[in-house]
C-alpha cells in the first residue's frame, strides 16, 4: 500500500477541513457507488439494464469528478483530481459503507439504487441552496439528470413489488438487508457543524433523514417494510448497525479495503499519472 495523499502540501487544500470532509463524503458516495454499478456492465439480466447500470456507473464517477473539482477549486488539475480519487488510502475515503457493499443479487442492487436516488434527490436539493454559487449550479444540473434514474428505480420497485410472489419476496429480502445499512448515509462527517461545511450542504446529512422518511414511508408500507425505518433522527443514530456505521469517518469494511479499493486504484498505483 502506498502512503496516500498527505493533504495540503500536495493538493493545495486541507483535506481535514470541514468543507473538504463533507465534499469528500458526497464525492466518495458517488465514486464508490459508480464503481459498484459497473459490476453489471456485460452481465446485467437484460441489455436495457446493462445500459442502465453502465450509465449509472459513468454518472457516478463523473459526479465524483465534479465534486472533487469543487473541493480543489483553483487547484483542480486533472492530476490532482486523480490523486483525490485514487491516491488516498482506504481510511481516507468518506463514503457510507452501504455504497461499498457488493452488488449481491439484482434485487439488492435495485433496492440500494432505489434508496440512493432518494437520498441523492434530498442531498442535491439541499446543495442547490448552497451559498457557493458554482456548487449550487452543479447541484441544479444534476437534479435534472437524476430524474431518469428516479424513473428507472421507481419502475423496478413497482415491478418487483407487484410482479408476483418471487419478485416480491426478493424485494423484501433486499430491503431488509439494505435499509438498515443505508442509515449510514445520513451520518455526518467530522466538523459538519462548521459554517464552511454547512455552506456546502445546508442542514447537514442528519437533517436529510426526516425528508427521506416522508418520501419513502408509504412506499415501504405498501410492501410491509415500513418497520425498518427509525421514526426520528434520534432513533436513527442508535439504529445504524455497527458494521454499517463509520464510513464518514474512514472506518470501512473489507468490501472497500480488500475489494473495491485495490481494484479501483490498481492502475493508478502501478502507473501514477497514466492517461487514457
Amino acid at each position: 500500500m502506498t502512503g496516500g495523499v498527505r493533504g495540503a502540501a500536495e493538493l493545495g487544500v486541507d483535506l481535514a477541513a470541514p468543507r473538504s470532509q463533507v465534499l469528500l463524503a458526497i464525492a466518495d458516495d458517488a465514486l464508490i457507488g459508480g464503481h459498484r454499478a459497473s459490476h453489471w456492465t456485460g452481465v446485467a439480466p437484460t441489455i436495457e439494464e446493462d445500459l442502465a447500470f453502465s450509465t449509472l456507473a459513468q454518472d457516478g464517477i463523473t459526479q465524483a469528478d465534479l465534486w472533487y473539482r469543487t473541493l480543489l477549486g483553483e487547484n483542480a488539475t486533472d492530476e490532482a483530481v486523480d490523486a483525490l480519487a485514487f491516491g488516498r488510502t482506504p481510511d481516507q475515503y468518506r463514503n457510507a459503507i452501504v455504497c461499498e457493499r457488493p452488488p449481491r443479487d439484482f434485487a439488492y442492487t435495485l433496492a440500494r439504487h432505489w434508496v440512493v436516488v432518494h437520498v441523492d434527490r434530498l442531498r442535491l436539493t439541499a446543495m442547490s441552496r448552497s451559498s457557493e454559487g458554482d456548487l449550487a449550479a452543479v447541484a441544479v444540473r444534476l437534479l435534472h439528470e437524476l430524474r431518469y434514474h428516479e424513473q428507472h428505480a421507481a419502475h423496478w420497485f413497482d415491478r418487483l413489488a407487484h410482479g408476483g410472489d418471487e419478485p416480491r419476496r426478493r424485494l423484501e429480502a433486499a430491503l431488509e438487508q439494505v435499509l438498515p445499512e443505508s442509515l449510514g448515509l445520513f451520518e455526518p462527517v467530522d466538523g459538519e457543524e462548521d459554517p464552511a461545511a454547512r455552506a456546502v450542504l445546508p442542514g447537514g446529512h442528519l437533517e436529510l433523514y426526516p425528508g427521506f422518511v416522508e418520501v419513502v414511508a408509504s412506499q415501504l408500507d405498501a410492501v410491509g417494510c415500513a418497520h425498518l425505518l427509525p421514526a426520528s433522527v434520534e432513533e436513527l443514530v442508535s439504529a445504524i448497525p455497527s458494521d454499517a456505521s463509520g464510513g464518514r469517518r474512514g472506518r470501512h469494511s473489507h468490501d472497500l479495503v480488500e475489494d473495491v479499493w485495490p481494484e479501483m486504484t490498481a492502475l493508478y498505483r502501478e502507473h501514477p499519472g497514466a492517461r487514457w
Binding site: 459513468q58 454559487g133 431518469y148 424513473q151
Partner: protein, 176 residues
C-alpha cells in the same frame, strides 16, 4: 492586431465546431456556446454549457475548440471553461440542429418542425415535456406511433425508442 480577434468571428468559429459524438450537428446548433471573451494580446476565453454533466466527449470538445480558435490569426492563447449556470436544456437546440438530428436518426426534443427557419437565425422552442410523457415522432417515417424501449441509450444524453409504424428502432435526445 488582426481583425479575427473580434468576438463575433471567434463565436462563429466555436459555433461551427462539430459535436464529436453527433457530427451532424455543431456546438452552435446544440446551444452549447455560452460566452466568448477576448483579452488584450489575443487571449481567448470560451465558456460552454455541457449537454450532460457526465458527457465523456467533454475533453474532445475542449480540444477541438482550442484547435479551431488557435488557428485564427491574432489568437495567442485559448482556454475553455464548462459551466452549469445557466443549465443546458434541450430547448437550446436550434431549428437547424433539430432538423440535422432528425436526419441523423436521432429524434430531437420538441416534436417536428412546423416551418422552415433561415440558416443562421435562432429560434427557441418550448422546453420539452417531462420524460414520462415526452413522445417523439419517428425520425424516419414521421409516425407518432412510437414507444420508449429504454430510459438509457448509447450515450448519457440519448434514450432508445421504437416506431411501431415502420418497425425501426431509433434514438432520442433526452428531454432533460
Amino acid at each position: 492586431m488582426s481583425r479575427t480577434t473580434d468576438v463575433r468571428a471567434i463565436r462563429e468559429t466555436v459555433a461551427a465546431v462539430p459535436d464529436p459524438e453527433l457530427p451532424a450537428v455543431t456546438l452552435g446548433m446544440l446551444g452549447m456556446l455560452h460566452d466568448v471573451q477576448v483579452a488584450d494580446g489575443g487571449r481567448v476565453h470560451v465558456e460552454l454549457l455541457p449537454t450532460y454533466s457526465g458527457c465523456p466527449a467533454i475533453a474532445m470538445i475542449e480540444r477541438d475548440v482550442v484547435a479551431a480558435v488557435e488557428a485564427l490569426s491574432g489568437v495567442t492563447h485559448v482556454d475553455v471553461r464548462f459551466r452549469f449556470d445557466p443549465p443546458w436544456s434541450p430547448d437550446r437546440i436550434d431549428a437547424m440542429g433539430r432538423e440535422r438530428l432528425r436526419e441523423f436518426g436521432v429524434a430531437p426534443p420538441g416534436g417536428p418542425l412546423s416551418d422552415a427557419v433561415e440558416p443562421g437565425t435562432r429560434r427557441t422552442l418550448p422546453i420539452a415535456p417531462a420524460a414520462s410523457d415526452s413522445p417523439r415522432p419517428c425520425p424516419y417515417c414521421g409516425s407518432s406511433a412510437t414507444t420508449r424501449d429504454s430510459l438509457y441509450g448509447p450515450t448519457p444524453c440519448r434514450d432508445l425508442r421504437f416506431c411501431t409504424a415502420c418497425q425501426q428502432p431509433f434514438e432520442a435526445f433526452r428531454p432533460a
